[in-house]
Symmetry: C5
Subunit: 288 residues, 5 copies
């Protein structure tokens, strides 16, 4: 088995805005690692995006929405103001949360868009989402799925447990075009998986990691842990600009024995285009 | 196997307002134990919260709700009066039931809030909930899940059957910050579980209990029995202020053989913030 | 194995208004037993409640309902008249059907009430239910579950096949308080069950029956057969005033091998309070 | 094994208006058998009901409907005209399709009525159903289930493959009262079934057939094939006036090994009363 | 095993407008094969239908829709303009996408029509579908299912891996009447399938291919790959004018061992008639 590299899919690293090396560095800062989970840093300005997206102990909330038909019975003028109202709420909470938005209409039957919210404190994420639902656009949106989880430091392919794969991982960098597409895929494993020994699960995750190496250059990944917090064990999140490569990556993950332990992998698989939240609101506000 | 402590998760004790020892004491009062299930004490004032939350034979009703969109078409003034109306109903029934409320919007797709109602008489719980639904806020709420159960005295990790674990349990006390988060997780076991001998199930529950010891300090738990009363065997309820610890507790429960007997564990897992009922109503009444 | 008593759960006897002995006597009348299924006696007045509730070949229809939100937009005066209108329909059909009503609001998410209708002719049950839906209250009700079945004479624990258990059964009488709670629980068994020999199934049903003996004094039971008529094999119906005893009865049934053959047991389990139909309508008509 | 008779359930014969012998004769006409599937005879008048109900290669569409609540907000006068409008559409298509109607309200939660449409050409069935939905009654109806299939000549219990059972079948005639009740039950089998050899499946179908012999006198049956055309392998259709006999017939089918290969048997099981379509519309148009 | 021919079902070739040979030729152009997936050719006019329907790396979006009841409350005049508005949107996007439409009303409970959209760039498909939803007809449509995938070159029955079957395939041509019916059937396989070796899966696909040979003359097929992109592994699409032949083709696929690895095959199976999009809109706009 080739252990010179590993996958981020199993270790919760975001490749959103930098190389693996940079992220690894961020995660290796002792202060960050040792901080009590959920502990929010003193807030004196907007949340540091690069930092919150790489830190462990961060709360992540994914929610998908459908715009109700009666939204389109509002006057075009009323709908035109929707984006500004949403942006005001995002601004109000910018010291506590960061918000990413995705347009899913055309790809999904059960959603028109989804939001990904990060916060050091789960209550702050809720506060934002409650305010968002109180905007006109939020009020005309039905929540169709909501999954929450927290980020953690590496628990399998770590420097200690799997040094070669860990090292290989650090050397790979995303080098594709700016990703236009994102995927949110929940994963739940069965009791047989969880009753394996730590060592057995490590071996399976190494086998899982090897074939994913080739895709570090064109698919970014991030992992959230949800056991007990929601009806899934993990929320996996991906960004890419190459759907064929993404399809091949997921096929390679289907072909390892770990797949036999899945009781949920998708359901839903949510595909969206990455867009500024104002654009998402505006595009969904069209129509006469 | 380390038997110096045990979990409350399997024995139906609430840690809501005191140490295990105090609760154990309450449960050991012969009068309480011997009283016929469902027998309500003579009522001359409000229900004694500490008592009803630790007594066996108590009926517990969990119900999750979504606020319908047309609620937000009521004038802001009408919505402002909603909380007072709800509080009046809570007051009307205060000699028969206690009510806890939780805000779930932002965490859940199928609910905006949930209620937990305790009563010595199941009919009293229904009477309250029927009156609640007749308030304006209740009328604009759709019930999305309803689970009912009863509390019982310890049936596995008792003084007689598992003395060491029982003793260890009594020594642990919740010492974290006041919990802000609550979880409601239904549990149903398969026929193979129920066809084990009592002794076999006791052994499995001991194995289940040991790894949970470490979390008595930061996660409170309470158990309701529902076999035949609802489509679940148990309703497990948790309070915590530490989501990472909670995630780790549930992971430790995933890793014991008992997990192989689960046919339902969650579905839904409901996460909410613990709030006064008036606050829940007010927060869900925002929006123009 | 103790064979001095048996359970009514498996043999379709209603304990609604008398001792087992009386019911057994009713069922033993040759005329009743030999009558062709579905044959209605000549009708010259209201259906004889005691008789129809103990006869084989009777059609039973269970339907659960939710009151739609717009019902509460009717004026209070309009809603006040709802009960009388429903009672008129019950009266119109009283020579063909008997109707029992149950309030489920507060216990169930998918219903506010349910009806149990008995008729010698399935078409008469439908005629009543169609008329009921044409009342104002019926029109504002959505049917959320509907299960139909027929009653049969004993087919396992009969005098011939299992004389000791059959005898024991006759000696037990319900002696609790008037039941306030009712449960409707569908049961479906898998192909392995139905492919057992008659003798094997008889043995399983005897094992099923023995532990239920102790609960004849506080839980009443009735059975309907539905294979092919609906998506369940049986509808089991219970009345009790002691929820803890009921929970223990159902636990004892979970612990016998027969449980391994269940593919449906509940789903839904419907719990309601037994009430006059006018009271059910009136309680669900409250609200301003 | 008694092979002197067989069941129609597995061979797609309708007993709607005659003896098995007559139908068998119709099916044995070489021209009919050899005709290309879906080929419509030259149409110069209404479809010949007896012929289309016994021919192979006929398209059958089953659809269940619920009347939406707002239908009852139309004036009684408007609703009174609904039946005539529906009858006009039936008349318009009478050279291409035949339509049977069934009232399910009172028996089913997810439908108020269902239609069974036969046509030599699947497009003709669609054309009728599209026109039906454009009537006022159709517009106020929601389709809740739709299953389509085609009829075929015998493929197991044929003269060649199972001569004794085939012969026995021809001698049985329905002799009960005119059926008032109809059932529609989808059937899907698993991959293990389809991977048996033809010979093995023939043996299972013979075992399936034998116990059903006794019910040819009081239950009529017809079979439609749907593999690939819809999410079921078969649609089984029954008519009877004796629900107890029907229940026993289906129990006998549950008790043969073939049942172990079922992945869908019902879900839904739809029960209705057989009525002229105008009566169905009128009964569902009542209410003030 | 007869390996002189193969099925297109497993290799993603569209037979929509030509012989296998022509398509194979198109697919064999090195330029097309080597082009990076998703790369759109320079656009100077409408998409070349024949080319996009045979190229690998094409994005395909299938979406099913129901027309909401309130559409029929619009005036007939308003509905009459719906088709032209839809056609304008199709025209606006004709340099980026091609759109096929199908009428499903009468065959399906969960849809009235479905669209199949092809684009070299997934974002272009979304742009069209967002615009479509902003038309009056689109606004009154609810999306009930949405499945997306990409086309790929042969990955099992290729010239290299299975030369005889590949050759046989090239010689077969659809020779039936113009197809009037189309089917969309999702397929998902389990972890055991994906954990077979490539060689084992090739053998299974050869076994799958052989019995389908006979149906190349009357059923056209096309395959889309969706693993990770949606909750299915494949979307299979068929066109035929012979439903009996189509039923037999799918039966033959049910009878090979590959079927034992299916966890989804249909669910939904969507049947529609192939129609110009304007006709679909007009037919669904009828009613007073």
């Amino acid at each position: 088995m080739n252990k010179i590299a590993t996958t981020l899919a199993s270790i919760g690293i975001l490749l959103a805005s930098g190389s693996v090396t940079a992220q690894q560095a961020a995660m290796d800062k002792p202060g960050t690692m040792a901080a009590p989970a959920m502990a929010a840093p003193a807030m004196t300005g907007p949340v540091d995006r690069a930092k919150i997206l790489t830190a462990p102990g961060v709360f992540g909330a994914f929610s998908t929405y459908m715009v109700r038909p009666d939204y389109y019975k509002l006057s075009a003028a009323e709908r035109k103001g929707a984006a500004a109202e949403v942006m005001a709420v995002v601004g109000k909470h910018k010291e506590k949360v960061i918000v990413d938005a995705y347009l899913t209409r055309g790809y999904e039957a059960k959603s028109d868009y989804f939001l990904r919210v990060h916060a050091y404190d789960a209550a702050a994420a809720q506060a934002f989402l409650v305010d968002f639902r109180a905007t006109r656009f939020g009020m005309y949106s039905d929540v169709t799925e909501s999954l929450v989880g927290i980020t953690k430091a590496l628990n399998y392919i770590s420097k200690d447990k799997s040094p070669d794969l860990n090292k290989g991982l650090s050397g790979a960098t995303y080098s594709g075009d700016a990703p236009r597409f994102a995927f949110m895929i929940p994963v739940k494993k069965n009791a047989d998986w969880w009753n394996l020994t730590d060592e057995q699960r490590l071996r399976e995750m190494e086998t899982h990691t090897v074939p994913t190496l080739a895709y570090l250059v064109n698919v970014k990944r991030k992992l959230y842990h949800s056991t007990g917090i929601d009806d899934t064990d993990f929320i996996t999140y991906f960004e890419t600009n190459d759907l064929a490569a993404f399809n091949n990556l997921l096929l390679s993950l289907a072909k390892v024995p770990e797949n036999k332990y899945h009781v949920r992998w998708g359901n839903p698989t949510v595909m969206g285009t990455i867009q500024p939240i104002a654009d998402v609101v505006n595009k969904l506000s069209m129509g006469h």
